[in-house]
Symmetry: C2
Subunit: 126 residues, 2 copies
Amino acid sequence: MLTLKQDHSELVVLSVLAIGPSYGYAISKDIAARSDGHFKLSPSGMYPLLTKLEKNGLVTTGWEEVKAAGADPDSTGRRRKWYTLSDKGHKQLTKRIEHHRQVQSILDGFVMPSNQSAPESELANG
Amino acid sequence: MLTLKQDHSELVVLSVLAIGPSYGYAISKDIAARSDGHFKLSPSGMYPLLTKLEKNGLVTTGWEEVKAAGADPDSTGRRRKWYTLSDKGHKQLTKRIEHHRQVQSILDGFVMPSNQSAPESELANG
DNA sequence: AAGAATATATCCAGTTTCGATATATCCGAA
DNA sequence: TTCGGATATATCGAAACTGGATATATTCTT
């Protein structure tokens, strides 16, 4: 199981929402499924993140009352909060992907296979 | 200027030290130079990080007294703390690179160009 | 002699992290 | 019909992290 940092979590959630509207629980299942169980975003990571996205205007939200098949008509029913990526969210995602790729490319300059071998050089303390 | 998160900072510092021993200020200049000024690790990020690496046994350290050319013989001189990647540090670096690549590869599954286009699909609410 | 560069290091207020916890509904099995 | 697992959203709080500001001291350049 690989743990996701906030930045990566946001990137993944925005990416999932770019496909279409969804809600917390479904997003979390989606992430687990689409990463073959390697990525996991727990409720305590998911909901503060979604709230933040909402506050920043990257998503719009709406409640759905999920009526059960044979449910008590008086029952409140299970509530589901849908998240839809806004225009701002789409732009933000594009921006983040760009940023992500740039960081990757520069990082790769440091993390080359050559770095893993012989540290025998004597360019110190001389 | 791209800001580095702790994880990336550690990866970069370990990578720099894999080439050979160095010290805080030099590492920070090295990172700026080797990233064309895109990455920056400030003193307040660098020294706590180096201390942590030392505490975790990923580096060994030693002080060097840097005598100036025409310096006062009684002068203490400038002190330089050298950091050398330990065996444990080398192993840790290899491990982190592996982890980094794995995260990248899975992340790329989410962040595909296709995600940036038309979110018209109706696979919600069904 | 002043100021920029070299060099290491801590402080601290704000943010992030993430397991634990709380609440409530729905569904299938015993 | 009752129990447990799955569905579903949300907060708490201790610990860790972040990064600008600050402190200290030496050396080089002008």
